[in-house]
């Protein structure tokens, strides 16, 4: 029973990873790529780790998989934030069809 549930979680995770990587290839500029990739790939990998936790239950490895979920979550969101700020300050242009840019005003 728990094997089946964990397999379902892992399959969902791999499918989300697939969506994220398609976004990484297909979207037009670095900001949009970061949007799709960081959300989908993070949740997909968290889902794989949660499937691992369900399979092994409350043992040493299951708890490690459970602790890795918030760690991965904070690490990837903060890394995405740093990357998007860095690429704006580096001077990479937004996509041509961008509608609005409020952040331009606070750059010196």
């Amino acid at each position: 029973m728990s094997d089946t549930i964990s397999l379902i979680f892992i399959i969902i995770g791999v499918v989300f990873d697939l969506f994220g990587c398609i976004g990484l290839i297909r979207l037009p500029d670095v900001y949009n790529r970061l949007q799709s990739a960081t959300k989908s790939v993070t949740l997909g990998t968290c889902s794989i780790l949660f499937g691992l936790f369900i399979k092994y239950g409350f043992s040493a490895i299951g708890m490690k998989a459970l602790i890795a979920i918030p760690l991965l979550f904070f690490a990837s969101t903060v890394a995405a934030h740093a990357l998007i700020r860095g690429s704006y300050k580096f001077g990479i242009k937004l996509w041509d069809k961008t509608v609005i840019d409020d952040y331009k005003d606070v750059q010196k």
């Binding site: 397999l7 892992i10 399959i11 995770g13 791999v14 990873d17 697939l18 994220g20 990587c21 990484l24 290839i25 670095v30 790529r33 970061l34 990739a37 960081t38 790939v41 993070t42 997909g44 990998t45 794989i48 780790l49 499937g51 691992l52 399979k55 040493a60 490895i61 490690k64 998989a65 602790i67 890795a68 760690l71 991965l72 690490a75 990837s76 903060v78 890394a79 995405a80 740093a82 990357l83 700020r85 860095g86 690429s87 300050k89 580096f90 990479i92």
Partner: protein, 86 residues
């Protein structure tokens, strides 16, 4: 085995990231691809625990999360042009 199939899918996705690393038009695209590749490796480690049954691989996954985070932060700092201790 379905888990082996999923492992092959994840390895294929890593090659998608390598496509971005090689052909990315700007430097930021390459860094994004490296960041995403680091997260995918954690998933690959998780699947390898299920396939091989070696339990230390989850420790490698946790260590990989932290190292990938530090590497990405350093590269992002390099992009902004600030000093590293600001």
């Amino acid at each position: 085995m379905i888990i082996n199939l999923l492992l092959y899918v994840l390895i294929g996705l890593s090659f998608c990231c390598f496509f971005r690393v090689v052909f990315g038009p700007s430097i930021a695209d390459r860094m994004v691809a490296i960041d995403i590749f680091g997260i995918l490796v954690v998933g690959i480690c998780g699947l390898l625990v299920l396939i091989t049954g070696r339990l230390f691989l989850i420790d490698i996954a946790i260590a990989w999360i932290i190292l990938s985070f530090i590497g990405t932060i350093t590269l992002a700092k390099y992009l902004t042009g600030e000093k590293l201790d600001e």
